[in-house]
Amino acid sequence: MNEDPHVQLMLRFQSGEQSAFKQLFEAYKIPLLNFIYRYCQDYRVAEELSQEVFLRVYKTVSSYRPDAKFSTWIYRIATNICLNEIRTGKYKYEINNACFDSGSEIKEFQAVDSRTYTGVDEGIVQKERHKEVRSAIKKLPDKQRMALLFSVYDQLSYKEIGHRLGCSEGAVKSIIHRAKITIRDIFLKKGNKQDK
């Protein structure tokens, strides 16, 4: 029997207990929202897509089988939604044209600034660096981007990332290594351009 408490909640929801679904929603809404936000970098799209993930859970409850950890299952849904909706679906245009200076972005930078403020120049440099890293992340190929996000923010093992992305442990290791080199290269190229 699968002893993952979230799997147990999902099974309770499957047998009709609506409050179990509410608990799962509360447990995963912020992590999922952040994962999707870091992937697409658009606050509104991230909110809509994270809700879409839960709606997918709701719709497929009758066919749910507790084969894996619940987190693995729900993140797999999330990665599929991101890949389908953002890369090819209705959000493609919005994401490609999203501006970095959206309201949420500015608010977030302000939060970072007030927390780590060490002087005007330092603040500006740091702000600029954050902006560059995010821009670089956005340029990573989909799988590299997702794998890197799972590795950095959730500190998952290669094996678990593999389960979420549907690839082998070895493949994940190589994807993450490549992601770190790619992001460094994008970063350096930008830096060199600015120096000139």
């Binding site: 936000y37 909110e47 970072v112 970063f187």
Partner: protein, 170 residues
Amino acid sequence: MNRECKKHRKNLVAYMDRELPRKRLIQIDEHLQGCALCQKELEELRMPVAALLEWESIVPSAGYDRVFWEKVEGLKAGQKNRKEKSFSKQFRLCFKPKFALVTSAALAALIFLITFFELKPLNNEPSQSEILFVQDFDLLYNLEIIENREALENFEVINFLDILEQEVNG
């Protein structure tokens, strides 16, 4: 870049993530101490990852939960509608010309069954007529086969089995 640098650079990401055998880690440590170029290379790899960690988490907007539960309600209503639509679609399908024969046959069979078998009340309580006049249940249990129920029904009180048998056998 000399040969030593080339050899270690391809392992710098694995070194950064401490994913190499101990012996290799020590070799790279030693090389880094004397090589400013490889140190810079390592720093360039580390910096974007470190900057990623400074990326603060966001929280959902004020209306996030409300909008979501409204979507759930919409989904529930949609599911209910679909079920009803699917039932009425199947019902209408029964009256389409190509299924008319099957539907008529099914209806005829149903009417036949209703007319030939008396409809029993839904509860399993025996009706007064079913109780008959059998007061001595021991007696009833002793009869293996009651072939002529009418004969049984004619008895108001069954006192002795042999009387019953005589009546049944004429």
